[in-house]
Point group: C2
Chain length 476, copies 2
């Protein structure tokens, strides 16, 4: 029974699985699922091949268009001016045509709770598919590490389910929603940590190379990420061990700037060489600290995925794939007002941003307090992070209404970059507070911190630009 549950949900869900699973949710279903993987391998890989043909590289597959066909076919029945806005490409920038899209969606009787249920079911199926991929690729020798795509797909679905529960809260069984939302937040937060440590390290090492005049990232970070750097070798404070100092310029043979050549020859420019030691040491220090953090995050994620808490979440998601606990009135309740409220929260939050300042290039705003770098996020970044989350919720709401997935908008990408740069700047500042580092290391970290804070400012400018563009288009 548990065996069938697993196969149905991950292989052929959701069409035929609903009835079979409806009553299988008590007990530790997830343990059965985990064992089921091995049995499935022994039994042959019918189930797996479903996943593989779906899309082996990203673990998500080409989802069957669960709900979008009925919607797409109905789009022309909407009001004439908003009709084109409902197609996928026009919504590539979700911020642009939302108001007409929502108005058009509200006019159609089908954008009700049924649509929400279909969306949640499909996302739950995605979740279970990712879980299966993770178990298949990650349960062997090298665990979660080798299935980053699976972990990403898990997070992806968890975020979408959680976001939809938030936006369309009144349509769902409140007890159930209140139980599962914090669990989904915990799960996606836990799974995100490892990736964000890795991305942060890569961003910071890239910046260090850029700041050293090497345009492309050479072999160094790959070596660094394998963790072969001896932990003690990096901070031989002051004596200027030539080893790490030479690796940085020597590893960048393809540099284009003519002036970089002088920096690469320590014999002719000993001063430049000395300060390149600072960059190398800063890189090694960040490598050490962020690799440690990543390792911890990895263990935490592994523990989480093996915990009974996770099994309970997976069970709930397995149920969701077949039956969404809507309120009795929900199937007939229109979604548009709730999606509109999400959009209003977004626009209100954006209206609160200092967009006038952000639209002024080189306003030097982001580096205020650059010399009081609390490891906690900068207070001035918080409203931007908030808008990033609201923009995401808004995108997910549009996905529910339109039955398809939307790519990230330029505005959303700018806010992602904003978040990444903000956190990288904080990591550089944090590393600078390591006791007993050499002044050259601290100097390099200071330059790096300021550089990332300027990326923060640049991201705000980019967001303001794309938002202004949206305001100026006649469609909005």
């Amino acid at each position: 029974m548990a065996q069938r549950h697993h196969d149905d949900l991950t292989g052929r869900a959701p069409a035929g699985a609903s009835a079979a699973v409806r009553n299988a949710t008590t007990g530790n279903t997830y343990d059965a699922l985990a064992q089921g993987t091995d049995s499935a391998v022994a039994r042959g890989d019918r189930g797996r091949s479903d996943v593989v043909t779906g899309g082996p590289s990203d673990g998500r597959g080409e989802r069957p268009p669960l709900t979008s066909p009925p919607l797409t076919s109905q789009a022309p029945t909407g009001p004439a001016p908003t009709g084109p806005a409902l197609t996928g490409p026009a919504l590539a920038d979700p911020a642009a045509p939302t108001a007409p899209a929502l108005a058009g969606a509200g006019a159609r009787a089908t954008t009700t709770g049924d649509l929400l249920a279909a969306y949640l079911r499909s996302q739950a199926t995605e979740f279970l598919r990712a879980l299966r991929l993770h178990r298949e690729t990650g349960a062997g020798a090298a665990p979660v590490d080798d299935s980053p795509d699976a972990a990403r797909a898990l997070r992806r679905s968890a975020r979408r389910i959680s976001g939809s529960l938030h936006t369309f809260r009144p349509l769902l069984d409140p007890d159930w929603a209140e139980q599962i939302r914090p669990e989904l937040a915990w799960l996606s937060g836990t799974l995100a940590l490892e990736h964000s440590c890795e991305a942060r390290l890569e961003r910071l090492l890239l910046a260090l190379h850029r700041l050293s005049g090497a345009p492309a990232l050479p072999e160094q970070p790959a070596r660094a990420r394998t963790g072969t750097t001896p932990p003690g070798a990096a901070e031989t404070s002051g004596t200027g061990h030539p080893g790490p100092a030479d690796t940085l310029p020597a590893a960048a043979p393809g540099r284009t700037a003519p002036t970089a050549a002088t920096a690469a020859t320590p014999a002719t420019a000993p001063e430049r060489g000395t300060l390149t030691v600072g960059a190398a040491k800063a890189g090694a220090l960040l490598d050490r600290q962020l690799t440690l953090a990543r390792t911890r995050a990895h263990s935490t994620a592994l523990q989480a995925l093996g915990s009974s808490r996770f099994h309970a979440v997976a069970d709930k998601i397995a149920l969701l794939a077949s039956e969404v606990p809507l309120t009795p009135a929900a199937p007939a309740t229109p979604l548009a007002p709730l999606a509109g409220a999400a959009e209003e929260r977004l626009t209100a939050a954006i209206a609160g941003l200092p967009l006038l300042t952000a639209g002024h290039p080189y306003n030097a705003e982001a580096l205020i307090h650059g010399l009081s770098p609390d490891p906690a996020p900068h207070p001035q970044d918080t409203p931007w992070h908030q808008v990033r989350l609201l923009l995401r919720l808004h995108r997910y709401a549009l996905e529910v209404l339109n039955g398809g997935e939307f790519p990230q908008s330029p505005a959303g990408e700018a806010l992602d970059r904003h978040r990444d740069a903000s956190e990288a700047a904080a990591a550089a500042a944090q590393a600078a507070r390591t006791p007993r580092i050499a002044p050259a290391t601290a100097y390099a970290l200071g330059v790096l911190h300021a550089d990332q804070r300027h990326e923060v400012e640049a991201a705000r400018y980019a967001f303001q630009q794309s938002w202004q563009t949206r305001m100026l288009t006649p469609s909005s």
Copy 2:
């Protein structure tokens, strides 16, 4: 005789002084001038009051309109479309209407070597006036320091004379020009050093305060500039002496950002307090180093102004105020082709700038090599510095042609800012290489360096914007 020479040149020059001085140039005329100041004071202040009524604060006075009246009255006789371009206000941005202005100037017979001679005579008079002001205000207890305006006016005239000699070289006696130009460059360079050290320190301390979240510059720099900081107190490395740490936030009661309040309370945020120590220490270190450099520059300037080399220059300028050594053909040679050549050199140099990159905000170009901060200027800055000099030469050429002084254009201001930020960034990098500084100090200097390099980038952006505006105006 020497007495009359001095009075004539500084008080009533240049109209009636020419004949009297023509043969007074052998021997140490300048020593006589210097003694003449004391005699003038003893004799009553007729000569001085001339200067004072002319303009006591800037030492330049309201020059009698030596050559501009004939030119202004002739302006309407030029070609109709270029006529308005020749007026002063239209030329506030010298880059904008130069081509028509030069064409118009070329069409007029009076814009010949005579005009150059008049300009050089007037600038020489300015020089001697500034010299007299300097002697009067600076020969007492506090020397050059109390007459910064006089030193500035001296440099101002020296630059203009030197620049005009360069642009209109073929019209001048080559032996004389070759002798005096390097001397003028030496003089203005020597006199500029002290001011630039002071301005650099002020810029860096302002930036440190901005980076610490204090919007306005509090008492700190005034105290710092008096040099009362004990040289040893700044670097008590690591122990976190609360004294300098507290002065920074405590001295900024008028801060506006709400988040700054948390940084200002060391009790609740000890980490922020710790890093404010870094900013305070960096400020004290820069104060020490730049004050030392300024003191040295001051001594050098004093020595220079008392040297026989300077007396020789002053004698030559005194001669110039009455008689300009033009070539025999010069009085009838038109100036426009030479001024046009200066403009061509300027536009060619601007065409060589990476303006496309500079027009892209946040291009992160200026901080490339941010981690190899040679104390020498960044190589990538050199073409911009070159354009700054060419723009200045071009402005002086326009002054010669139009017989009036032009204010700095926005493009020129941007390049001044570019130069200042570039040198300030180099000073921060240089300070970071001081042996045995604390990591927190080095970190703050790294942030400061990166901040100033971003000011460099912002200045390039501003230059590109004003240059683009010029290109888009129909008048050009």
